[in-house]
Amino acid sequence: MLSFFKQKKNRSNPQQPKEEIYAHKQKKNRSDPQQPKEEIYAQKSSVMIDFSLSKNLEDIKRITGNSPDIVIRKVKIGDQAKTDAAVLFVKGLVDSRAVDEFFIESIMKSNHLQEKRTPEDLMGLITDEVIPLGQAQSMRNQEEIVDSLMAGNTLILIDGIDEVLTAGTQGGEKRAIQEPTTHISIRGSKEGFTETNETNIAMVRRIIKSPDLWVESMTIGQVTKTDVSIMYLKGVAKEDIVQEVRTRLNRIDIDGILESGYVEQLIEDQTMTPFPTIDNTERPDMVAANLLEGRIAILINGTPFVLLVPALFVGFFQTIEDYSSRVDIANGLRFLRVLAFFISLVGPALYVAATTFHQEMIPTQLVFIIAAQREAVPFPAVVEALIMELTFEILREAGLRLPKAIGSTVSIVGALVIGQAAVQAGIVSPAMVIVVSVTAIASFATPAYGMAISARLIRFAFIISAATFGFFGLILAFFLMIVHLCGLRSFGVPYMSPFAPFSPSDFKETFFRRPLWAMNERPRMAVGKNVTRQGENQKPQPPLSREMIMTDQKEGDTHES
């Protein structure tokens, strides 16, 4: 714990780690020890590109350490192919088909190019006519150029021009869109996010086809230069919260962002809490649903997990499927989830408290059975509970990290250890096994993994408090947890809202939900101006008249006079 604080202290001085990292990097750099790389970055270099092609190429080679995956293709263009030019790209990062066909081929074969004489003319022509790709732009700053190259763009350098043309050719191998592995639903879209930001943004846009869906991009990470985009519905999302997200993201000064969890930890309101204050999902439809409720999505390149802010406590018990299934069933399931969360929190603690302090609370027949089972057990109930809970957590952790081929062995061995052998050996009582397994199953019923795992951790605190003071201790611990929860905030929004502070309008959308036709307003906590969700009178009704219509009725068939 103390070492953690030492680290934290170091963090407060951002200059120090940065230097260390770059110094470390420099050691690795084989090609050019004379020119320390950090200098280039430290200056936020104003080094401009040179007129000479060979010098430019040398510079780039030097900066990138002559890495073999940077391809330099030299071509001759212009009148009588007198002008030297070079096409640069990083192998694997670019769409090689686009580079070959649209770039090199068109430059080499273009008839227009051979007529032009001056390099300036050539540049203009290439930009305007030859390159049939979008996202072409010219740059002069050396650092920007290298960054652009590293991002997967293709560079064109022409001798005698102090400008570089970059064209967007990002591509290369990426994972196809697959079914998400978390947040699985029976009914609903089977699409899951991929590791590529553009794809992910497009997937959300495919659901919300509105110009109000605004995306802002930025690059975070001094070394990794990870693309981070924030996405929100203009008018629906609260402007204050959007601004808060922006400032918090801009504040981040770190060498690398490898997963959305990095960003999450750097922008969350409260770090000393086991509860997640930022939601994440792998499902585009869930992101869309949250955007419509005024939340803001943060997409990070390189991970299929998209962050959603602000996140409320109740939100972690809701699934996207709640809204696609009928209201009674959805409410029943939601109630079940909350119950399961409660069991996963206090299950073993209740057992320990009841069997060691409050035997009078257990029904007579049951207490006799539990007493009979405990006759041969040598440990107090709390030790028994801790042994079993630890065993289960070890099993779960081991099963999670193991290769799939060995995974089944763990479950078999685990089932034997937890289930039969432990009981037969008289180490634990069968009732304890039931309690632990029910708790274990209940902990998997919470849809959000972050919330479920926090319950697992807090459970141990509950067991200990129940073992020291019985139900009194359990209630105390529970109060502590509630007070802590009420003190949390997610991007300025109280975590426990709409319970605390109580909001009658939002309360309708918590552990239960209204029928879809009655959900006329968006939850007010995160929504800006545009509160109305749907029109009035959305309740479906049968046609007013249900009278039977006789199709083959003739005049005089009825008994009217």
Partner: protein, 409 residues
């Protein structure tokens, strides 16, 4: 949080552990007492008996049961002493675990103790004790030692205490000659001036010595078995008389405690020819005072089915049904009257007529209160009205007797 804050936090956390596991009781340190009985010794002291569950033997057939039916599910310990709390402490000389009364189902008081000492001296401790529940059932051991009811092993429900309580429940529901009374109800009735308590009696049929061994429950016919038998009538906390059979049921009619029961009536000189199963009933007791003299009226309305017909009767005829209803009303009325007569003879207001009068006219009650049991109640004018309704005739209409008789013709 800085280092100082962390240190403070750890200090606060450690305070939790300093208390240890305060007042912690493991299940294996407790002796669960399922039943408690009180006898009077020859010297005039109490003899308390506790029935302690041995958990290992109670769940035979479960894992590690081992003992099964070869060892008894309960063990009984006795101790003599001057008062109940004393005996509570003395009993630990014989027990390896702390006696635990929260799961005690049954209190048995011997007839002798109830007659000589009365209930008030023993009820105080039962009421005052923290662990002991006031919802525990109280019964009187009739013509046997209270201890014998605890030592006798039982068959269907292996814990004798559970067996007796369940038996009481079942017979109260199906027969209506017994009533389950708990400590709390008993105390309120003993202290009330306008109502005297009744308690169910239990007797032991068979040899108490044989009933102690596991052998007894290994045969199909038990050597000794407890049996519900009558109601004990109290006056001023002391047992004075027993109410039995139909009179006991009459008492329960008046107390509005009948759930279902069978009433039989004679038909054309055949005794108990028609049986009637009461499914629902409501009894109301009301009082009227004329010139300060109270008059009680009991009105009962019973609904039920024909349960059995021993003689040929045409049940399809509404007139016949009406006639049977009249017979049943007479039968029920006589039961109630018998009960009232016995209570008046013993001068014990077990029906709570005094409370009814109190509710009707509180001022008059102030005058009547002093001499209620001995004079006013004993000479009270009680009017009984019974309405019996036959709703259905069971699964068949006419019985086979009726069909046979018709064929003869």
């Amino acid at each position: 949080m800085n280092r100082k804050g962390m240190f403070l936090f750890l200090l606060i956390i450690s305070v939790c552990f300093l208390s240890g596991c305060w007042s912690k009781r493991e299940l294996t340190d407790l002796a669960f007492i399922s039943a408690y009985s009180l006898d009077l010794t020859e010297e005039g002291n109490y003899e308390a008996t506790v029935q302690v569950i041995s958990p290992g033997n109670i769940t035979s057939g479960l894992q590690g049961g081992g003992g099964g039916s070869s060892s008894p599910p309960v063990i009984v310990y006795s101790v003599t002493g001057e008062n109940l709390s004393d005996m509570d402490a003395l009993i630990t000389k014989k027990l390896s675990r702390t006696p635990y009364y929260a799961h005690t189902d049954l209190v048995v008081i011997s007839e002798e103790l109830a007659k000589k000492e009365g209930l008030p001296p023993i009820l105080d401790e039962l009421d005052r004790d923290i662990e002991f529940r006031t919802t525990t059932t109280v019964v009187i051991a009739k013509e046997t030692k209270a201890k014998d009811l605890l030592t006798t092993l039982t068959g269907t429900d292996r814990v004798p205490a559970t067996n007796i309580v369940k038996m009481l429940d079942t017979t109260e529901k199906a027969l209506g000659e017994n009533v389950r009374v708990n400590v709390h109800e008993l105390i309120t009735q003993v202290t009330s001036k306008g109502k005297e308590p009744v308690l169910p009696g239990f007797t032991l049929k068979g040899d108490p010595m044989q009933g102690k061994t596991v052998k007894s429950v290994q045969s199909t016919e038990l050597e000794a078995a407890p049996e519900a038998d009558g109601l004990a009538m109290f006056k001023e906390g002391k047992l004075i008389d027993w109410i039995e059979g139909e009179t006991a049921r009459g008492t329960l009619w008046t107390l509005d405690k009948i759930k279902t029961t069978i009433v039989s009536t004679s038909w054309e000189k055949e005794k108990k020819a028609i049986a009637y199963k009461v499914m629902r009933q409501k009894t109301k007791v009301s009082a009227t005072l004329t010139k300060g003299k109270p008059k009680l009226s009991i009105s009962t309305r019973a609904e039920g089915d024909i349960a059995e017909v021993k003689v040929p009767v045409d049940l399809t005829d509404p007139h016949v049904i009406k006639k049977i209803e009249k017979e049943l009303e007479k039968e029920i009325k006589s039961e109630i009257e018998k009960a009232v007569q016995q209570a008046q003879k013993d001068k014990s207001d077990i029906f709570g007529f005094g409370e009814v009068v109190h509710r009707t006219d509180p001022k008059a009650w102030k005058k009547l209160e002093k001499e209620w049991d001995d004079r006013t109640f004993a000479e009270l004018d009680v009017d009984v009205k019974v309405e019996a309704l036959i709703r259905r005739t069971g699964l068949v209409n006419n019985s086979l007797h009726t069909t046979l008789k018709k064929e003869e013709k």
